[in-house]
């Protein structure tokens, strides 16, 4: 019983990491239909931001909290720059965007290697994040790591913030208008170019926040982004384009599925099985869990 509960909690915490990574993509890929393979490197930028800040702010907790907004700005600025330099020329060619941004991701990785060195770098986690909370005591205590709870909280906060931005603010309304009908939005006086850039800024900024979170659980190095990017894209594909709720549900479902399968088989087998499950799922719902219905031909 403890095992099942424990794995469910583990799954939820894996899901929270996955969600945080995929959330920015749900905006750039899900809403704007841009496949940005350099998203992983924006995550990396967020993680390195934490590392750099910790050099000047010695208190680990303080630097982590400061890193959140700073990483958002750093990665967001990188994203907006990328959008301005390249992506805006490619909105009609999503597959070319994929390959172009893959090239960008290669260059950013090498840049990180040249700046910070090829080896991973370390950050210190604040003491209040290294312990764990006991949920069920006894001989086989069920514990949840503080860092994982922190990430879960961060993911929930980011989802709420993104959802309310999209729903309640003028910016959100503009983004949704552009997603639904670009031409109409343009003639209604919305500067689609500015909306695109802003949306890209926010989506990439969220990657920066994910990067800060990842410093708590994983390595910080030039290749940290590539390790997670495909999983994140799969979350969006299965969740359905343009739907935040799909992303949230699927991130947690895949997290739990992965952790349960890992427990009962091996990590390798679990990874392969999860992929098979995804292909099978797409047979059933080729457009993902939730879809926006449109009447367009393409």
């Amino acid at each position: 019983m403890t095992v099942i509960l424990g794995q469910t909690f583990t799954g939820i915490s894996i899901g929270a990491v996955l969600l945080l990574i995929a959330l920015g993509l749900s905006l750039t890929f899900g809403q704007m239909n841009v496949i940005n393979m350099a998203h992983g490197e924006f995550i990396m930028a967020g993680a390195y931001t934490t590392y750099v800040l910790q050099k000047s702010i010695s208190d680990a907790g303080m630097s982590l909290l400061v890193a959140l907004p700073v990483a958002f700005l750093v990665s967001g600025a990188l994203g907006a720059l990328l959008e301005w330099l390249l992506i805006r020329r490619l909105y009609l060619r999503p597959l070319d965007t994929l390959l172009v941004t893959w090239g960008v991701s290669l260059m950013l990785q090498q840049l990180a290697r040249d700046i910070f060195g090829a080896p991973n770098v370390q950050t210190r986690a604040p003491d209040w994040l290294t312990g764990n909370v006991t949920l069920i005591g006894g001989a086989d205590p069920l514990t949840v790591a503080n860092s994982r709870l922190f990430i879960l909280g961060l993911a929930v906060a980011a989802v709420v913030a993104l959802a309310s931005t999209l729903r309640l603010t003028p910016l959100g309304r503009r983004i949704r208008a552009v997603v639904q009908n670009r031409d109409l939005a343009e003639v209604s006086g919305i500067s689609t170019a500015r909306v695109d850039r802003t949306a890209f800024f926010v989506g990439s900024g969220l990657a920066g926040i994910a990067g800060v979170a990842l410093t708590l659980v994983g390595p910080i190095g030039p290749t940290m982004g590539t390790n997670v990017i495909i999983d994140a894209f799969l979350v969006i594909v299965v969740g359905g384009i343009g739907q935040l709720k799909g992303t949230v549900i699927v991130a947690f479902v895949l997290g739990v599925l992965q952790s349960v399968l890992e427990y009962s088989t091996t990590v390798s087998v679990a990874k392969v099985l999860v992929l098979v499950a995804i292909v099978a799922f797409l047979q059933w719902r080729p457009q993902g869990l939730y879809t926006l219905r449109t009447r367009s031909l393409v």
Partner: protein, 418 residues
């Protein structure tokens, strides 16, 4: 190798395939100039006043993290040797090639070094996979490779010198150490590749013979960074110690998760065989303090040779750069080659091999001796404890260099292994 003899040394020409008749014609025409010489082993070019050696390391890709440090210490040794007069009066000219963390590329670059650059010897490779990829290249061309990383044993190529530890100089002593401390229930965690799987097979056999129990064995794909489930499994198993053969990035995620799960070096110590000073630096002593490692060398190893090595390395590459076991083995390998060449008075690989037995060198790790029969080194095993300062402090050593035994022939419990 037995398999080679089965193949007839046939040529396509004599086979007379109709399909390739035209092709064969032009093959004949083209053959005369090149094939005559390349039929034999590629000759090292030692005609000038320099001698070329190859440095074959991944300078890009996932393995670059580790292999660049090896390349750096190889260069350090070469510089030192050149400054003191070179080898047989010739300056060493290193030719560095990037294996790009890709095994077929390693094979390609090894060929280039041997055939195009005509190097006298090659130093490098890190992963077993890259070594397996280049092994036939060195054997076919009768050229020498010095391999500086601890590995899984069960190999003895006539053209490779293994200057890192084999299993009986690292894993077996680590198990002896655990046994002596009364830690008898082990959990095995490793990356999914050759070294951990073979190491764990050896550990299983050792455990069976020594009254230890293995409570679980888990592998994560190379580069995997999600370890919460494995940490849960380890925690639930209630073992005495964890034997860790994870590689690279995975270690960072594993130790962060390990601490989060409330496991400590006191409650459940981890013995790692792939975590050296460089890795400690990237994981953070916050997560590692108190955990154990098994190697033949630490930056803190006592002795004048090591003091000199550490000082020279830091002077050349930076004060914050630690030295580690594979770096030390690489550094040592160049000096060993120099000693062999000088003893043989020739760069010819066959003569160098013949001269190798009994060569000793006062290495940073202590004295090492080449065992000509296995082409491995006598090395001292050392167990270290990671300190809060990020350095590894030695807590036990084998007292004297251990004779290399790559096939574990001297251990009765290992008779089924190969």
């Amino acid at each position: 190798m037995s398999s080679a003899s089965i193949i007839l040394r046939r040529r396509f020409l004599s086979g007379g395939l109709a399909l390739t008749a035209v092709v064969a014609l032009s093959a004949c025409g083209a053959k005369t100039d090149a094939a005559g010489s390349s039929d034999e082993a590629a000759q090292a070019d030692v005609s000038g006043d320099t001698v070329k050696v190859g440095l074959l390391n991944s300078l890009s890709g996932t393995m670059a993290i580790s292999e660049v440090t090896v390349r750096d210490s190889l260069k350090l040794a070469i510089d030192e040797i050149n400054a003191s007069g070179g080898v047989l009066g010739k300056k060493i000219q290193p030719i560095s090639e990037d294996g790009a963390s890709d095994w077929p590329t390693f094979a390609e670059k090894a060929q280039k070094l041997i055939k195009e650059d005509r190097v006298a010897a090659t130093f490098g490779c890190w992963t077993s996979a890259s070594r397996k990829a280049v092994k036939p290249v060195f054997e076919k061309n009768k050229s020498l490779l010095f391999y500086p990383v601890q590995y899984e044993g069960l190999e003895q190529s006539p053209y490779i010198f293994y200057t890192g530890a084999t299993t009986n100089q690292q894993i077996v002593p680590a198990l002896d150490y655990l046994k002596s401390k009364g830690l008898k229930k082990l959990y095995l965690v490793g990356s999914d590749y050759v070294f951990p799987r073979t190491a764990n097979k050896i550990i299983q056999a050792y455990a069976k013979a020594n009254g230890m129990t293995i409570l679980g064995e888990d592998y994560a794909p190379l580069g995997s960074t999600e370890f919460s489930t494995i940490a849960n499994k380890v925690k639930a198993a209630k073992a005495d110690a964890v034997f860790n053969t994870l590689n690279g990035d995975s270690n960072v995620a594993f130790f962060k998760e390990y601490k989060s799960a409330g496991l400590t070096a006191k409650s459940l110590p981890v013995v790692s065989v792939s975590i050296a000073e460089e890795e400690v630096k990237s994981i953070g002593s916050q997560y590692l303090a108190g955990q154990l490692t098994a190697w033949n060398y630490y930056q803190t190893t006592a002795g004048a040779a090591n003091e000199k090595f550490v000082k020279a390395y830091k002077a050349k590459y930076g004060e914050d750069k630690p030295t580690s076991d594979p770096m030390e083995a690489a550094y040592t390998s160049v000096y060993l080659w120099k000693a062999m060449v000088e003893k043989a008075k020739s760069f010819d690989p066959e003569k160098v091999k013949a001269a190798s037995d009994g060569i000793t060198f006062d290495a940073p790790e202590g004295e090492v001796t080449v065992d000509g029969a296995t082409q491995h080194l006598y090395k001292t095993a050392r167990i270290g404890e990671i300190g809060t300062d990020g350095l590894i402090k030695e807590v036990w050593d084998s007292g004297k260099p251990i004779e290399p035994d790559p096939y574990l022939k001297g251990y009765s419990w290992a008779s089924d292994l190969s």
